[in-house]
């Protein structure tokens, strides 16, 4: 039979009180011992448990009081002052209490978890990487894919397939997405991150050609799959001439077939808008997605292969000239009009300004050839028509050229200044965060003895512990403030419905100024970079003077 005092309740009561005594704050531990000592007088197990529970309650109150008293003291100060040898100088401490510092740091954390802050930090991080992906982006994509697979979300799967690096995984996700939603077949055309050429999968392209037969774009893609390796082979040996390139490409009947179909196709749809709508949809549902992924989603979409288009166009124009020389005027005219029609389709139906420009380029050359053709024939009416059309094409090109230029100089400079402020505030926030962490930890772990020769260091550490957290909070608020124009750009980009507008926003509205500001620091020999370096130097000097002045004041 178990003796009453050896029973489980008694043993548990003893155990719990002994454990509490080990952790009990020093200043009230004797009361804990006093309470625990009474346990041996208690006969009844239930009473012993109640007594121990009371002890645990007392322990929690003592710990809370101890913690509160500890919080009210500055960092680095113990609750009970140790007795120091006479030769030791009393430690210098910060002025702000731990409670105040904790409140400031909590306020900073609250600022940082705001959605606007997370967007700013994410965009800044992306700019520091030059908008190249990093491991965080990969992880985000993996999580997105996992969720999409679970929820059978075809469109998110398609998005992830389009931006995931690595052809194997990308192909698998694309297959899954198209299996779930066959209308997403166009994604087989929309892969291939530039500048490296990644051809679309053959089976996917064939399926796309079958499903969308009257569209020039997939045919041009199919032609590029053939032309690219040939061109790379030519490049490997020497710099090929136009004739060499034309000869190499025209030697492939398959290439000729695809380009012929492309030039005769009734439609031109590069799926750019579909890609943008898909990207926008996923971005709006997942606002924390890095800007890098959004950029890459746009950049990765292939443009029509200029080499193939130009080469085939040239071959048609040459054929037309040969036909004209041989007296087959109708044939010559038909060929040139075919080229011009293709150019018009790309201009009218292309979704990106670059595509429209390509189309105008093709039409321009065809129209010049037509003008010269009619002028040689003496057909003034048709020649004048061609000349008029040429002027129209040139006007359209001028309008488009404006859209390729960045916004006006004043706005550009304002955004560049903003970029500098954003970057410097972010760097300052980082430095202050590190400084606050190092100084606070150093103070809490400090040695109890203060050697005279380290007084200046201690003063600096205490000053930093006092001011760095507040500086960090101000820097975070400042970062949010300076980031406002970019937040507006991102908000506008999320709302535009055409890829052309999105492209314009992201390329020319200064988001790149964010990355170029930091990148420019590597090359400080241009006027803007000189001012960047000058501003940084001024800030550093101001900080040095401030700290030195404060230290002198303290010594006095």
């Amino acid at each position: 039979m178990i003796a009453p005092k050896q029973s489980l309740p008694f043993r548990f009561a003893h155990f719990s009180l002994q454990l509490a005594l080990r952790l009990w704050p020093e200043e009230t531990r004797h009361w804990g011992h006093a309470l625990a000592a009474e346990l041996d007088e208690i006969e009844k197990p239930f009473e012993a448990l109640q007594w121990a529970l009371g002890g645990l309650l007392l322990f929690s109150r003592a710990s809370a009081s101890h913690f509160l008293a500890w919080l009210k003291l500055p960092a680095g100060s113990p609750l009970s002052a140790p007795s120091l040898p006479a030769s030791t100088i009393a430690p210098i401490l910060p002025k702000r209490s731990r409670l105040f510092t904790a409140a400031i740091l909590l306020a900073t954390a609250l600022v940082l978890i705001l959605p606007q802050s997370r967007e700013a930090i994410s965009t800044l991080r992306a700019s520091w990487n030059g908008y190249r992906g990093d491991s965080n982006d990969l992880r985000a994509l993996q999580n997105l894919a996992a969720r999409a697979e679970k929820e059978k979300d075809a469109r998110t799967l398609a998005f992830v397939a389009l931006v995931t690096p690595g052809p194997g995984r990308s192909a698998r996700l694309a297959e899954q997405a198209v299996a779930l939603d066959p209308s997403l077949i166009w994604i087989y055309a929309s892969r291939g991150p530039r500048p490296e050429y990644n051809p679309p999968p053959k089976s996917g392209l064939e399926r796309l050609l079958a499903v969308d037969p009257d569209n020039a774009f997939p045919e041009i893609l199919a032609a590029q799959v053939i032309s690219e390796p040939s061109y790379q082979t030519l490049l490997a040996h020497n710099t090929p001439t136009q004739q060499d390139t034309e000869a190499a490409l025209a030697a492939s009947p398959e290439w000729v077939t695809h380009m012929d179909r492309a030039f005769r196709a009734a439609r031109y749809n590069s799926y750019f808008n579909r890609r943008w709508q898909l990207t926008q949809e996923v971005w709006n549902r997942n606002p924390n997605l890095s800007v890098t992924l959004i950029f890459n989603s746009l950049w990765a979409h292939p443009l029509p292969d200029y080499l193939s288009v130009r080469t085939y166009e040239n071959s048609l124009v040459q054929k037309a000239q040969q036909a004209a020389s041989a007296g087959h005027l109708e044939q010559a005219e038909t060929l040139l009009r075919e080229v011009d029609s293709f150019g018009r389709r790309v201009t009218e139906q292309g979704e990106l300004d670059l595509e429209k420009f390509l189309g105008l380029d093709v039409s321009r050359r065809a129209t010049i050839a037509l003008r010269d053709f009619y002028q040689r024939l003496g057909g003034t009416g048709k020649g004048q028509e061609a000349a008029k059309r040429l002027r129209l094409i040139d006007d359209q090109r001028d309008v488009l050229m404006h859209s390729f230029r960045p916004m006006d100089e004043l706005r550009l400079h304002a955004l560049e200044r903003n970029a500098l402020q954003v970057q410097l505030t972010a760097i300052l926030a980082l430095l202050l965060a590190v400084m606050a962490a190092v100084c606070l930890v150093a103070l809490e772990w400090r040695s109890r003895k203060s050697a005279a020769r380290k007084l200046w260091l201690r003063r600096v550490v205490c000053l930093a512990a006092d001011w760095a957290p507040a500086g960090l909070l101000l820097a975070c608020v400042g970062l949010l403030w300076f980031f406002r124009p970019y937040a507006e750009i991102l908000r506008s980009t999320r709302e535009v419905t055409t890829v052309s507008a999105a492209w314009h926003f992201m390329h020319f509205e200064g988001l790149f100024a964010l990355s170029s500001t930091l990148g420019g620091l590597e090359q400080p020999f241009t006027p803007l970079h000189f001012w960047q370096a000058f501003t940084c130097a001024l800030v550093a000097l101001a900080l040095f003077i401030l700290v030195r002045g404060l230290l002198r004041l303290k010594r006095a």
Partner: protein, 103 residues
């Protein structure tokens, strides 16, 4: 007397128990049994009385083997005066009744 303790009924019961034999040293468990105040309430009250200087404390001198020394309490001179005042004041306001009258 200056300081007025916020006297709960439990505090007054404890003061009454300590005043019953003012020069006698009391153990914590004995006070708890006498007043039915649990340990989680008793010891904070004793700690507050100690902080105010109303309570004397000591550890017992002779300790049986295998047992830790027990803590002993009694009211100081000032403590007894203040305790009597508190009890009288509470009784007048009919906030508290002595244990004898409750029996």
């Amino acid at each position: 007397m200056g300081i007025r303790l916020r006297s709960s009924r439990q505090t007054l019961d404890i003061l009454e128990a300590l005043l019953a034999r003012p020069s006698h040293w009391h153990h914590g468990y004995a006070i708890s049994r006498q007043t039915s105040v649990p340990s989680g309430t008793l010891y904070p009250i004793l700690m507050r009385l100690d902080k105010l200087g109303w309570l004397e404390t000591r550890w017992e001198d002779s300790v049986p083997q295998g047992r830790p020394p027990r803590h002993l309490y009694r009211l100081t001179g000032n403590g007894r005066e203040w305790a009597r005042e508190e009890l009288h004041f509470a009784q007048e306001r009919e906030f508290w009744k002595p244990a004898a009258s409750q029996a």
